[in-house]
């Protein structure tokens, strides 16, 4: 039994061209991820200040 893989020829030759709507959506998602990660970093920073050196010494 032989197995052949047929790729979508048009797209593999020219690559995927994002439409304007897709580009806008990708940009919005990227900004949302960046903001979320920023908030997480700030949260860890502030909690470290609040808890001091014993930040990982947490109660059950």
């Amino acid at each position: 039994m032989t197995m052949s893989v047929i790729m979508n020829e048009d797209k593999s030759e020219t690559g995927i061209k994002l439409t304007e709507q897709q580009q806008r959506a990708r940009r919005a998602r990227s900004i949302a991820i960046a903001v979320s990660l920023g908030v997480l970093v700030i949260l860890f920073y502030i909690v470290t200040l609040v808890k001091g050196p014993g930040v990982l010494n947490r109660p059950l």
Partner: protein
């Protein structure tokens, strides 16, 4: 044998679609009840740690919502109420929703465990797992008791809030858990009475679909008769002041009166719609009054003293 590989179309999902995956309206009730559980707990919790706990609980609830939408996409597209959700409308691919939900769930639980405490993190993990594995994947499509048992997931947030503040459990948050637990069936069955066709088309065995409208109306009344006195229990057990008692007794009387109207309704669904709308207000009123009572100093302070 040949395999044709086609690339997935690039996503057009915006940030708003991912927020919709997190069921923001459900999340707001979760955060509110968790906030009340956190506030009324004895002892002092630094505001930053409290806010961290609430963010983690909100994200955890959002994760559960996204995983629910991922698993239920096939039935969501058959129901008019849910057909416009991000997956059935084609804006978010199911795999994206799954990855989003799992990522949020892991982050919420780990961050809650690292920055607040392990007990709250364990309860949050249990809540997410119960909602996704027990309610969504098992009960929802198999039994009319789906929302009764599954309601435990929605009832846990005040317990998580309490655990975040104290690192443990007590009778008080369990009473709050029971109030939400017994509130859930009349709330959802009132909705299902006027969405019966939707649920039947999607193949979900909601009580009106399986047992009929008359039995559903009877069950709404029975659960309301349990809920109304349970709502007063925090005062009866001595945890709250008289303000809470007045609000809980009055709101409980209204919910029983509405349940009686639903029971007696022969045509149309006006009473069911009223019941559904008031049930949301009922839960908000009870928890808001708990908070007001606590702020006024009459609440659990006497336990902490």
């Amino acid at each position: 044998m040949s395999v044709t590989l086609t690339r997935a179309e690039p996503s057009i999902a915006g940030a708003g679609d991912y927020i919709a995956l997190m069921k923001p309206r459900v999340m707001s009730l979760v955060v509110f009840t968790a906030f009340v559980g956190l506030m009324i707990a004895p002892g002092h919790l630094h505001p930053v740690i409290g806010l961290t706990a609430l963010i983690c609980i909100a994200v955890g609830a959002g994760a559960a919502g996204a995983l629910n939408m991922w698993y239920d996409a096939d039935i969501d597209e058959r129901m008019t109420r849910t057909a416009a959700r991000p997956i059935p409308s084609g804006r978010v691919a199911p795999g994206e929703a799954l990855a989003f939900g799992l990522t949020l769930a892991v982050f919420a639980v780990v961050v809650l465990g690292l920055l607040v405490n392990v007990a709250a993190a364990a309860l949050l993990a249990l809540t997410i797992a119960f909602y996704v594995l027990v309610y969504t994947m098992w009960l929802k499509r198999s039994t009319p008791q789906n929302i009764v048992i599954g309601g435990a997931a929605g009832a846990l947030p005040p317990v998580i809030g309490w655990a975040a503040a104290t690192g443990g459990l007590a009778i008080e948050p369990i009473v709050l858990f029971l109030i939400i637990f017994f509130w859930t069936p009349p709330h959802f069955w009132a909705l299902s009475l006027y969405r019966t066709e939707d649920y039947a088309r999607a193949g979900i065995p909601m009580l009106p679909v399986v047992a009929g409208e008359a039995e559903t109306r009877r069950q709404i009344l029975l659960y309301s008769l349990v809920l109304a006195p349970l709502g007063v229990a925090p005062w009866f057990l001595g945890y709250t002041g008289p303000l809470y008692a007045v609000v809980a007794i009055a709101a409980g009387a209204v919910i029983v009166a509405l349940a009686l109207r639903v029971r007696g309704e022969r045509s149309g669904h006006a009473a069911s719609k009223q019941m559904f709308a008031f049930s949301i207000l009922y839960l908000f009123l009870l928890f808001a009054t708990l908070l007001v009572d606590w702020v006024a100093g009459g609440l659990f302070g006497r336990f902490a003293a």
